[in-house]
Symmetry: C2
Subunit: 419 residues, 2 copies
């Protein structure tokens, strides 16, 4: 379904304010007396303050801000010894785990320099990713299971804006990127809350159809060379738009979000997938890559650029060689229509059909949030320290659903829904 | 001793860089393999990054940045319930205590809005001060005993600059305040390291003379109405400029620093002291106040402005009614010569002779850093959750030292050293 935006004139400050409200009230949907943990880059401290104030206005008990700075992280990678990255301090782990345990909601502001970690010693990156995975396990588990409300949004910074619009001045680029962000999250429409309600409803309807059909496999084909079959786990659930936390509170984990997604059977994937957009991993761009799967596993891969980064990603652990997410996005989605390469997964994944290497979402199989890790494995769910999306959608992509009975039903034709 | 600055032309960026180097190398004097904990307001993140880089260049193992924002604190005071301020979370306490325990050095960037907490519910401020006092006890104790190197410096922000120079535009005010800060910390002199070496030496010589004389009491008198006798503890030590941490590493805790200071006997203080500069406490300015002491205790007080804040300060605990520090600063000190009211203790205390209510420095009595709290009390040292400086120096201040034998020796005449 396409939306016809009704624009009303708003100043930049008004849009910022509306964005902050949207994040707090629709994004995590904070409840009276609940804590909010906000992760915010220091560079956008003014917007961080807005979220804090909107959080309190919406009834938060306390808004705890974890400020961060990717430039400081980069300096640390450049100067500190490997040993520094092998441990996450207990106090740091608790600074998130404690609040996850107590049912806080989590807002994360992304949107830094897409190439901030380019050239960093990969042993350090890998060690730190591993240390975080262990230290924040409680937080990650509760988040991936949607036990607590969480939300990731983006705020442009200069480096990111210049990457997206290299032909503009820094100031113009930041301004243009803000406008793109506002458009993508429906700021500026006459009633942003109503716009999100309708949008969530439309995504929910698509999920309902797919959930009833319970396809066993999906067959992807396009002129780039993709010819690929992926299995879905039994009793998989297609999700999209709003979710519910363990208390039944509705939240939207990503803004923007245009996708419906489910859990692949990580043991069933065969054929070749060709990327349709670059993938940014640990600050390195991987361009024009292809993956050849056999029995669910990437057995061969190529990349015109960033081959080593792709290799590092796939070798992180066994689960990084398998899929954890299958997501459908029409080629004519609003973000796709902007025709901007954002170099940021939050946006680019919503412009294109995609898969993710690595960890699956337990919410996307029936009863999954109550399953142990072993039970998830047993039904075909994937485990990994990574969860990295990569794009495969093109204007000529065809996706056919194959039912248990072997019946073939077209889902996508020429990049868009036909179901 | 007066310095004759030799200026060399430096750009603003060069001065910033030199300031960052000064803080790391002379301020905390970080040693190879030592951690640095940097507390930095988000508003000056660019300067924070400079310190991080200089820290690594100087050999730091890791530079841990605790970003903070006083505007977020203010929002929390305004919206959150009292209960939120009654506890400091364990992870927050450990985020400082752990590093103090392990011998890190601590850099704190001050310099926010002097009135940021004006009008905040004093019960919340008091509860939080108490909770911090308990949670960070290990950190504070190690810091106050100079076991670990620490350093407090200031970075101008807009609100502070406008408070100091209300007649200027925001941009001009910030620029002028930066120049004042640079001048105060000797940035722009031909060799800032050499300038600090000489300065520390001159303060050390004054301390040596005073330490040899071992005055029993000091008698203060000026035309504002001050007529006041304060006792010094036996075996007191006058300190000033550089100190040594428990490993013998030289550091400078405050930049600027123009004072020499020692430990008063908190049981011996009689007469009236009249303030010569306003005192900022919890964001409220206390102006033109006087204190009448009897047997070491403030028994009466007046204030033309901010009486309630003064009352709150004095009623924080019993120790807040007694003195913890006696400090001497010549009226013709460079900061005094600038003739700027900074509304910031770091600067204003170095423009004027002062005392502090509250906690004493164990380093200022012989063997003090090895004494228990009870032993400190026994020799006459003061304990309190507060340590708040207030200024008493004027152009006509006379201070006379009284030896054990009752001999009177002039220390200050007309506001300056005569010893």
């Amino acid at each position: 379904m396409e939306r016809i935006p009704q624009r009303k004139p708003m100043t930049f400050q008004e849009k910022l304010q509306e964005y902050a409200k949207l994040i707090v009230n629709i994004g995590v949907n904070v409840q009276e007396g609940q804590d909010i943990v906000l992760r915010c880059p220091v560079e956008c401290y003014e917007f961080g303050r807005m979220i804090v104030e909107e959080g309190y206005k919406a009834g938060a008990k306390e808004v705890i801000v974890h400020w961060g700075d990717e430039q400081v992280s980069r300096l640390t990678y450049d100067y500190a010894d490997l040993s520094v990255f092998e441990t996450v301090q207990e106090w740091q782990a608790e600074s998130r785990n404690k609040y996850a345990r107590e049912g806080a909601c989590f807002i994360t502001i992304s949107g830094g320099d897409p190439e901030i970690f380019k050239g960093v010693d990969s042993a350090k990156l890998k060690a730190y990713a591993k240390a975080c995975d262990k230290a924040f396990e409680e937080f990650y588990n509760r988040m991936m299971a949607s036990e607590i409300p969480w939300n990731v949004v983006a705020v442009p910074n200069k480096k990111w804006a210049m990457k997206v619009f290299p032909e503009l001045s820094e100031e113009e680029a930041v301004e243009k990127l803000w406008e793109a962000v506002f458009f993508a999250v429906r700021i500026g429409e006459s009633d942003v809350v109503e716009a999100w309600r309708k949008h969530n409803q439309s995504l929910a309807e698509q999920c309902k159809k797919l959930n009833e059909l319970q396809f066993e496999k999906l067959h992807y084909k396009n002129s780039l060379g993709t010819d690929f079959i992926v299995g879905l786990v039994e009793n998989h659930i297609w999700e999209g738009g709003a979710e519910e936390d363990s208390k039944g509170v509705t939240f939207v984990a990503n803004m923007p979000t245009e996708e419906v997604f489910t859990m692949p059977d990580c043991r069933v994937a065969d054929g070749k997938v060709v990327s349709s957009l670059p993938l940014s991993f640990e600050g390195t761009l991987i361009k024009n890559f292809s993956l050849t799967f056999k029995n669910g596993r990437v057995e061969e891969f190529t990349a015109e650029e960033g081959y080593e980064a792709l290799e590092r990603l796939l070798n992180s652990d066994e689960g990084s060689r398998h899929l954890g997410e299958v997501a459908l996005v029409p080629y004519k989605s609003p973000i796709s229509q902007m025709n901007i390469l954002f170099y940021n997964t939050l946006f680019d994944e919503n412009a294109s059909c995609h898969f993710a290497f690595g960890e699956c979402y337990p919410t996307t199989v029936k009863g999954g949030t109550k399953m142990t890790a072993e039970e998830i494995t047993k039904v075909g769910g994937n485990h990994s320290m990574n969860h990295v999306d990569f794009m495969v959608g093109t204007s000529d992509l065809c996706i056919t659903g194959i039912t248990k009975e072997g019946k073939e039903i077209p889902i996508f034709e020429n990049g868009n829904w036909v179901l």
